[in-house]
Symmetry: C4
Subunit: 234 residues, 4 copies
């Protein structure tokens, strides 16, 4: 009933095909095979959905076809038949990757998933706050650089959205170097921005570290509490 | 009485206008509308301040006009009428963003704000120390590079403040690449600086992580302590 | 019996030779000496293996020669005699570095090694998940950039593997700047990628911090538990 | 007796002079004044050392002059009189910054200093291990890039020390971009190196976070333990 393992294997194969798409002649055949396999798998999946009490009967199967995952599956197949395997449908086929997410929930990774999701969820307001601070810094620093550099580098800092490109590269400490301030005041503010970028990275890292640490401690406390009565009973 | 939600919405709209200011003809109208709305809101706010017992009566309202937030509001409006909406007043209007900070204190984010501020405040001396270490590293590494590179790249390393620009870009691991050492000794010291930059990032991150972790544990301890008597009473 | 300290010293010397290999005439002699010393050491090691009850006798020594570490030792010597000290064997000789790993397990670093390995092992599923998320982000962002930039920069973004080079540089916040997006949509997605790169760094850092923190707490709890009975006995 | 506050203020002033050393005529006077002030302060300090029982008498003062800090003070003054205030003595005068370290130990920062130093010292073996791993990665990745790129970019990757410059810039995620691999295999290994660079940053950050967290918990436990008897006594 569950073809996930097979389909994910094919999905991985398919992206490997995408990785080597500089020689498209060879991969045309593989693409047709993959499309056929996915169509077959989709058919089997719709048929097998009838086994599930929620989707029993013909109308149940139709209802299944409108669940989120089934639509993703359909979306990944249809473009091939419509466009004949053109490259533009490429991103949609990447949606199949989302099914790997489902796969990650299986097996030993499941508890890790729950653990991480819970920890992040518990501190979501703190993370939202540091995201808001990051957004404020982004807009403020690009506004400053726009004021100081627009005259000297109209191409790179001629408007705030253009300055935002520099701002993102600096605050995330990526620092491409395709756009850099050249006026002394611009450099001064850029330095302040770069130093603030450390805070931008340190803040969510610290919050996540504390969240994971807290989740682990609560786990340990639960274990200890269930153990304590036994010890007391001895 | 509280127009914050409305004003912040307008503030967001206004920065979106700023984001698309490459076509200023269209945004002139929006700017006038926003200025009128903010003036109206400022009037309502001053009038409504009379409801607050601290600012009752005419003299109370005048006193309200000299509170920090009221001055920020005034500063954001006045430039428009003085300059007729020129671009130079742009940064001052960005001050309105500060009002979003007030908004962040409302609702569910309020406790997150208090939590983060408390944790950072508790470890402010440790953070100040690592900031001092960062400042020392910045000056020391730019002095080294100035000594080794000034002869070969007078444009980039001809003085210590010029070398500081490189120093900030390296220690924060931004690394624009517009200025790089070319002598072997300069590269050696630059490598040491880059490696020290890891410490510069790791130190505040570790301190913040520990601070958040500690704040969470104290929270948990408080909950447990208030729960313990109940358990003991059973 | 254990020549590790000596061999590691020679290994360090040897890489210093490698470091200064721009003047190969001088280092030829050192290379021959090192090769002879390592051959001698290998002979002594094989002979001394007989002292170990597992490798007693001639057949035991032959068995020892096929253990993993003995093969590494052999691999590091053979190329010199086959190629006469050519540069191509250089990487294989770097395998000797692996023996330093063994050395790190000795002395005071041993418990640190066990501590770090245990902590990482305990959270291996969480780390695997964030590695999977990183891989997904890498492929997704390079696919996006491929779609938006392939037309304008066929050299840099002409295929997904080419875009992956940019993608790795951005997500790890290295940001060489040799390849940067030039279209507005490409820059937008690049900004999102750069911001996601912060999460990519914050996630494993947070997990590791929590793992080390948890390992330290368990250590402290063990100490306290073994101390508690003594206190109760008083 | 303690002139530290005054001397550190002068030291800060002096580096500000160094910051503006592009106009040396004006700063010549300031330099002479500072040198005289420091000479005076050194004399007062040596005289005042006699108040300390360890350095009583003339021979005690001579002994004081050979303590580490007094030598640093002397080193910072002598070059001015020998070279007549030349720029080469500049780095030695920066040694005065070290005296700021002493100042940082005073006041409220003192406990923060002890706290951070203790936490780092407790995990020194783990930090040494991750430094060793970083060193191994540095040498290994530069060796790989040397093998793949030496033929195509002899200027940048012609020897291992040259490749090390690239290696440091990549592993620390600085990424100047002045030197980048151009061969596919070189890019593949560079990507692996960049991804390993995340681990290189995450490891010490995690260790430091756990160390600070642990130090805070031990502090809290001490407080609780000293409080517990009081509670039990009630």
């Amino acid at each position: 009933m569950i073809l996930i393992v097979l389909s994910s294997l094919i999905a991985i194969l398919e992206t490997e095909a995408a990785i080597r798409d500089s020689a498209p002649q060879f991969f045309m055949g593989a693409q047709i095979l993959i499309a056929l396999l996915f169509t077959l798998e989709y058919g089997v999946r719709v048929y097998a959905a009838g086994e599930d009490p929620r989707f029993r009967g013909l109308s149940g199967r139709v209802r299944y076809m409108f669940t989120w995952w089934a639509l993703v599956d359909l979306l990944a197949i249809v473009p091939f038949y419509v466009t004949g395997g053109a490259q533009n449908a490429f991103l949609i086929r990447l949606l199949r990757f989302l099914r790997l997410v489902r796969l990650l929930r299986l097996g030993a990774l499941s508890s890790a998933w729950v653990f991480l999701a819970d920890a992040v969820h518990a501190r979501r307001f703190e993370l939202a706050l540091s995201a808001a601070a990051a957004g404020f810094l982004l807009i403020f620093s690009s506004a400053c650089l726009y004021l100081f550099e627009a005259r000297h580098q109209p191409e790179a800092f001629g408007s705030i959205p253009r300055a935002l490109w520099w701002s993102v590269a600096t605050l995330t400490t990526v620092g491409y170097g395709d756009v850099t301030p050249i006026t002394p005041l611009g450099k001064l503010f850029a330095s302040v921005t770069a130093l603030a970028g450390i805070g931008l990275i340190a803040m969510p890292t610290g919050i996540l570290a504390a969240a994971f640490s807290d989740a682990l401690r609560r786990q340990a406390d639960c274990t200890r509490e269930t153990e304590t009565p036994n010890t007391a009973g001895d």
